[in-house]
Symmetry: C2
Subunit: 203 residues, 2 copies
């Protein structure tokens, strides 16, 4: 699609990059296309040659976020070969870490700003891929007899829900101060994923 740049040098990428940066600097509501264009040093309509509209640019940013998440899920698996329980805890920890590093992007990915339907098929595909990473862990755990039997999809959703909920509560600032981002969150994530594992373990 963006094979070789003409005037500016890969503007498509630079817009995505600048937009991601600006997104994290302020909150999502105050991200303006014009500010992005100014940051890259082009006119205020130049982005329209690369993105249909603002929402489309946001979808691009969210896509990058899902890709990062997927990659971290794969790393979690690789870090603890043949130990699904450890993989799951590692995945949970990395999930939280990614979100803490890019809270605004995370909100964009899951905050219902982008349409749920198939307006952006590529985006949905990226999201499904991240979920797929979790399902692989669950499946392996079931095969090895570490996790309880049952609908793999449901067990994966169960695990995902726990991690996801913790993550969004953390970055959303909805937790009492004792549990907030400002404290060391490692014991928190460990406690949560441990409880989660207790719920998944085979009898």
């Amino acid at each position: 699609m963006t094979s070789k740049p003409y005037h500016h040098g890969d503007l498509h990428q630079q817009i995505l990059c600048a937009a991601s940066a600006l997104l994290e600097e302020n909150n999502i509501g105050s991200l303006s296309l014009r500010a992005v264009a100014k940051k890259v040093g082009v006119s205020h309509t130049a982005p329209y040659r690369h993105f249909k509209d603002k929402e489309s640019l946001l979808a691009g940013i969210a896509g990058l976020g899902f890709d990062e998440l997927t990659s971290q899920m794969k790393l979690a698996v690789a870090t603890h070969p043949s130990d699904p329980a450890a993989q799951l805890q590692e995945a949970g920890h990395r999930y939280v870490q990614v979100a803490l590093k890019n809270p605004q992007c995370t909100q964009l990915m899951f905050g219902g700003i982008l349409p749920c339907d198939d307006t952006y098929p590529e985006l949905r595909a990226s999201g499904d891929l991240a979920f797929e990473g979790l399902k692989i862990i669950i499946r392996e755990g079931q095969v090895r007899g570490v996790f309880k039997q049952g609908d793999e999809e449901l067990l994966a959703l169960s695990a995902w829900s726990g991690i996801h909920g913790l993550t969004l509560l953390l970055i959303g600032g909805n937790l009492p101060e004792i549990l907030s981002i400002n404290v060391d969150i490692r014991p928190i994530t460990t406690a949560i994923t441990t409880n989660m594992l207790d719920g998944l373990r085979a009898d």
Copy 2:
């Protein structure tokens, strides 16, 4: 604060109500103060006599959402007296139901649109109250020996995370179609909360 209305009859309430309705009709990005004013039948700056700015109005809407959540948590407790496990499942189910009924409001409550700091102390208080409802269930479960011992705050967070994550994934449209809103979600919430309980249960 809004003791007796002067001209219009409790405009403060009507704006909140109209804004909530418009919020759910479209997504959150396309809610405009002017549209709210038009819907109520006042000029486009009338809302500024009742809300400092747009964000302040949004905070008001979110507050109503938290109040509803708190009320549902209390109902969940009342529905299954002296059965913390059932209370927790009931709470989870109601949590999801409230969110499905007001998805946009839920995103507003947790989507990081509003500042996390103490700009709106009343809002934070409402949110903490909902969390408090969960903690009561956990505490009762521990006292009765149904739930495992440990930091009550952490256990409550664990439970909340699971329910919260499921809820946001559902309304965010981030789940594969097999698990989406379109199917009957009762078995899903039951499966999740059951796994959760397995993780909380005392040995």
